[in-house]
């Protein structure tokens, strides 16, 4: 059981809803992932196509909590305005706050992020900031009112896994009581398991599932990896060593004088 802003969730896997081949595959992948949170976004609606209306109908049928994002926002004002619009449509104070600062890596503009987080927290939003593993930024986000942090593993959609394991370990150690979710860059179940083994509270997956040849099967694989990683963390992993140590007892070895 993980808790975010007082809400207990059964699953430690959050799933994005983007880039699935069809609504039916999205629905089956969400079920297979056992996710209790899915991320959603807002985009310009066409009066003729009304695609957003159909999507929203599908999401409501999933029976999971939604975490709206401010994806694509590049300024504090864009992010804050989008958050207001999201709160009205999705009827939740939760907002995954993204303020993008750089196009090639989609790295967060952490200065804008902190400012937007402060504004939104003061307005009653429960902010999930998409951030880096930087400890100072994390400190400032918490001081701005955030009670959850979402550090990236690697650039969004890159599937590179955990680029800076040291930084993520330091973040976990420095903020032992803060719910931490590894957000972007996870490409394989083993990456998710690694994040969970490090003690992160949850992971957010999207492209790794939606762009798999079989998204539903991959969602199931991620669910198992997240559960395994969490169980391993709770089990107290051994410390790595530089040199070998025989696992079979040496005492009584034959042919030794």
């Amino acid at each position: 059981m993980s808790t975010f802003y007082g809400v207990e969730l059964d699953s430690r896997l959050m799933l994005g809803t983007a880039r699935f081949p069809s609504p039916a595959v999205l629905q089956s992948a969400v079920a297979a992932s056992k996710a209790s949170v899915v991320t959603v976004s807002l985009r310009r609606e066409s009066a003729a196509e009304r695609s957003g209306q159909g999507f929203w109908s599908i999401v409501r049928q999933l029976g999971v909590r939604v975490l709206p994002n401010t994806a694509g926002c590049r300024t504090v004002k864009e992010a804050v305005t989008t958050a207001h619009m999201a709160r009205e449509i999705f009827a939740t104070a939760w907002i995954k706050l993204e303020v993008i600062g750089e196009e090639d890596t989609l790295a967060p503009d952490v200065f804008g992020l902190v400012e937007a987080a402060r504004i939104l927290s003061n307005e009653g939003f429960e902010v999930f900031p998409y951030t880096t593993e930087d400890l100072v930024v994390a400190d400032k986000l918490l001081a701005s009112g955030c009670r959850v942090l979402m550090p990236w593993g690697a650039p969004i959609g890159s599937g590179r896994g955990l680029n800076n394991v040291f930084g993520l370990r330091a973040l976990r150690a420095h903020f032992p009581e803060v719910p931490l979710v590894v957000d972007a860059g996870i490409g394989l179940p083993s990456h998710a398991a690694q994040a969970m083994e490090l003690g992160f509270d949850a992971v957010l997956i999207n492209t790794a599932v939606s762009q798999a040849d079989d998204p539903t099967q991959m969602a199931a694989a991620f669910a198992m990896a997240v559960a395994a990683g969490r169980l391993a963390y709770l089990s107290g992993p051994m410390e790595p060593r530089d040199m070998a140590r025989p696992s079979t007892p040496v005492v009584g070895t034959a042919f030794r004088s």
């Binding site: 994005g16 809803t17 983007a18 880039r19 699935f20 999205l26 991320t39 959603v40 976004s41 807002l42 985009r43 310009r44 609606e45 066409s46 009066a47 003729a48 009304r50 695609s51 957003g52 209306q53 999507f55 929203w56 999401v59 709206p68 994002n69 994806a71 004002k77 305005t81 989008t82 207001h84 619009m85 999201a86 009205e88 449509i89 999705f90 969004i156 959609g157 972007a184 957010l204 999207n206 492209t207």
Partner: protein, 66 residues
């Protein structure tokens, strides 16, 4: 009068309020959120928000996201 809706020029009745304009634009009962000239306009304020020629209106709806 002409306003900009989601980046494209559209015509709505002169002095229309936002609720009326949305209906004219075909959004009717659609689940959308609105921003006028970069400022969020809540559902409760649409009827009391009057549009002017050249206004920039954003009409957003739920969409897939990561």
């Amino acid at each position: 009068m002409r306003i900009i809706v989601n980046g494209a020029a559209r015509d709505v009745s002169a002095l229309a309020d936002l609720t009326t304009a949305l209906a004219e634009l075909g959004f009717g009962e659609a689940v959308v959120a609105t921003a006028l000239n970069g400022e969020f306009v809540p559902l409760t304020a649409r009827s009391s928000t009057t549009l002017a020629a050249g206004d920039q209106l954003e009409v957003l709806a739920p969409m897939q996201g990561g």
